[in-house]
Symmetry: C4
Subunit: 126 residues, 4 copies
């Protein structure tokens, strides 16, 4: 039976949805997750801002033995979503171990720019 791999708590300090897109592609960010386990993973996102209280408990399911590339523009809770053009940061908690990578495509100019990091994992004892 395939087991869960990675960690349950991950952080991305530099998140930002560019305001503009030009050329053929659309500016966007993705939080990319692998769930290696034979059971679904339930993720809870917390979004940190510079000037207001965090937006908490945005839930996303990543099915067993699947990857999910989650657009940050799809993260919403009670009608509140992440504003564009505002610096923010992301915490991802999962009920089982997962692996998380963050990537941004900035298409503000006609030619796109890319950046990517493996999110920062916090080791748990369990």
């Amino acid at each position: 039976m395939p087991q869960a791999t990675g960690e349950k708590l991950w952080y991305i300090p530099d998140a930002y949805i560019p305001e503009k897109s030009s050329g053929g592609l659309t500016s966007h960010e993705s939080v990319c997750v692998i769930n290696t386990a034979s059971e679904d993973a339930l993720l809870s996102f917390t979004v940190f801002f510079e000037d207001r209280a965090p937006l908490e408990d945005i839930l996303v399911v990543v099915p067993a033995r699947r990857t999910k590339h989650i657009r940050t523009s799809s993260l919403a809770k009670g009608g509140a979503s992440i504003p564009v053009g505002v610096p923010y940061a992301i915490e991802v908690r999962s009920d089982i171990k997962i692996i998380v990578q963050y990537s941004r495509l900035d298409a503000t100019q006609a030619e796109n720019a890319l950046m990517s990091v493996i999110a920062y994992p916090v080791r748990s004892s369990s």
Copy 2:
């Protein structure tokens, strides 16, 4: 005698082969491996998708004391290869310790964009 270094299990959550290329370069991804040991490393790739079962047991050899920059478009098993334009994720298992980095060149636009990460290593006890 040079020893194996790194870890035996590595993950890349954000993999994607762009559909288009323009300008002088071709869009591609590379899984780049160092084998510091005096023996060959046998790698087994598992490819995770969003909407279908994983593609397992794609084998690649990295010779002793060599690097190999593996194009993901070359990964195939029984006639099945990785489709372009589809979000996926990569697991790399090796029989000896190695080090793994993932890079993508996106040449969708005339001017290219680059991203790179050291893959996420899972510590083993052996």
Copy 3:
């Protein structure tokens, strides 16, 4: 009560403020911090150069339960700031645990280029 997460000491070896900007965006670097704790974090930056003594003890506060995306051009001490077009490196010390990511937007050309890394954390025993 939310607790501090991450590490207290982080390093970024490759820092550089590009001399020029063209197109719609300005070249810049950001040191992006998450403070998950219910108390403020006091950060002290040390800037290392290739050919002169380090610039030490530049202080920045990151409020409780907030992120802060700090432009390196804003880091100054006693009238001394970081010169453009010069290779340098950054140490970030904090009185409580934080998480740090570094990103650079290079707009030297009309079309921008991006790079980002999670800073290198040094594990502490406390």
Copy 4:
């Protein structure tokens, strides 16, 4: 007395010096090092290739309390340097603890592309 920080052994699997440059910038790679100690660090580079034996024992000094951003095109030993347009990989050994980041500017096209990673550290017991 400031102490050495980081690790003594670091790896960069994906190294590559682009063959061409256009526009105002030159394609290049940098291995960026911080030496936090009050003594100089002596680094020994090993370069791994896909199809030939490694190039070993290329020596570089990073002075005490300084950073050094080392162009890979400057690494040479006995008249042998790193060829352009060839996939390779880098091992960095140091006699004291350091921190290492790798960055590449690809100016093959008129508009530049950037990528960067913190090199992979191998933990030592000493």
